[in-house]
Symmetry: C2
Subunit: 299 residues, 2 copies
């Protein structure tokens, strides 16, 4: 038994490279943690880090990176395409191997409590760690964004799970929780009309009548002058990537709009892409556990 947890914190900084590097260095400094990937998006003004390791080390790196972000990011000055509510916006813990979701929930609660106590940043538990149904979905917690969060916390319904109901003046609030692997998947359209991306996002996402396990918003990529449907696939085993891709393609057709490309931000489990290949090749009787060579070489 060699439990491995993945942590994928999102920070509200995608433009100042020195801040992104400082957070990366903080994560790398923790023994037992391996920083696998990090990427900063200028349009979103947001960065995503992925690291794995033993649960204790991953918890330490999550806390320290949140502390570093609170030191270097001032949310009162933050602008970006992506909704956000804190310097560290969200800290998810994902079971990778030899660890249960329940153990990841416990881990998320310990980290959340420590952030509230030592950094005075209010913490919401979300996803599988949520204490109320309305706190499961990050979008519901984040609604109103940083600018309206101080007022939102006064509502007893939105009292934080840890910490006082007062936002940190510059670091805002943070969501912490355990969840299944999430794939950040964006689809770029050959239009500069953000309204089309917004409309398609609404049509394909679960909350407004679209695909289950799909969350989506329209985002403008200023540097490419393209509108993007920015998607979170929150359960790729039930709702595969190709279904979101084909649904975006189908809805875009009404506007004479085509897909110019798509992108996966950060990491993905292999299986999510194998499922895509199986669909498009119309594979019969394929057993990925048995027929993929690498599955026999995994630690």
């Amino acid at each position: 038994m060699n439990p491995i947890v993945e942590c994928i914190p999102n920070f509200s900084e995608g433009r100042r490279q020195e801040v992104v590097e400082a957070i990366a260095d903080t994560i790398r400094s923790v023994e037992g943690v391996r920083l696998l990937d990090y990427s900063a998006d200028k349009n979103h003004n947001r960065s995503v880090f992925t690291f794995i390791g033993n649960p204790k080390a991953v918890a330490e790196a999550a806390f320290l990176s949140c502390k570093k972000a609170a030191e270097l990011i001032d949310m009162t000055k933050h602008k970006g395409e992506h909704p956000r509510m804190g310097a560290t916006d969200v800290i998810p813990f994902v079971p990778v191997r030899d660890i249960t979701v329940e153990e990841c929930i416990e881990l998320s609660k310990k980290v959340g409590e420590r952030i509230a106590e030592e950094l005075s940043i209010p913490v919401f538990l979300y996803e599988d760690s949520a204490t109320k149904p309305e706190r499961k979905n990050l979008a519901d917690i984040r609604k109103g964004q940083f600018e309206k969060m101080a007022e939102k916390l006064k509502d007893p319904q939105w009292a934080p799970d840890f910490g006082k109901p007062e936002i940190h003046p510059t670091a805002g609030v943070v969501a912490v929780g355990a969840r299944k692997p999430l794939i950040a998947y964006n689809i770029n359209l050959d239009t500069s009309d953000i309204k089309i991306a917004d409309t398609i996002a609404k049509l394909i996402r679960e909350r407004s009548g679209g695909l289950k396990n799909v969350r989506a918003i329209g985002v403008m990529l200023e540097d490419r002058n393209l509108a993007q449907v920015s998607i979170n696939m929150v359960d790729y085993e039930r709702t595969a990537l190709y279904r979101a891709f084909e649904m975006v393609k189908m809805e875009a057709r009404r506007y004479g709009v085509n897909i110019v490309g798509s992108e996966i931000v950060g990491l993905t489990p292999m299986k999510a892409l194998i499922d895509v290949a199986e669909y498009y090749l119309q594979l019969e009787n394929f057993d990925s556990n048995k027929q993929i060579l690498e599955n026999y070489l995994l630690q």
Copy 2:
């Protein structure tokens, strides 16, 4: 350094399950070898085994399985859709990890020599182990099949690399060699007209003007009353699976024929299917080495 070789011998028996199981047991009996997969095809009357392990153990298992097949299979009585020339038709060695192609070539020569000496079965070295250009391609060696092999061997140009120029009366001849990973990939058409599958096979394969690194024949699936384009993808890194799939689809259209499905026989490296997903999702800037979680967990 923990070198791992893959071996994928093909045997001319896909109907008598007891023979297939006897070969499987022989492979399993060798310490240091892991039998990953085996499948028997009744139409082809052929079975494919895949095992991995340290080079010495894999060489031993390859030899012993060839010996077992020579004991149990009589080629004078063999009928099947797939071309064949021996009880053991072909024994390829593929580098998986910490071993070079050159070392696999040496391994193949040792096994070939032993088969000729101890079992009196003539051996052709093929693919990267080939001693002449015209012996690189298995189809060239196998041309004429078992029935015409006795005569073919009398031609000095086709003298075997190991053993006398006389076929084994019931086990025929065998090809042994090192090669890159090969993906056995079949595409099923919604027609029972084998001529259409034959024509498409010719159009898509390298030797008659089609795609480089693609070998293909038409095969009739009697039990489903379907014609199949049976393909070997011999260098999936240069010629990806989706290209064969799309080319078959395109050529089939002329006859009003559609693809009903495709199948991968045996094992495939993960990357071959990731490439397919990348193409159909139009993925931008995807780095499979860095963005696939499992790549960080490989032994």
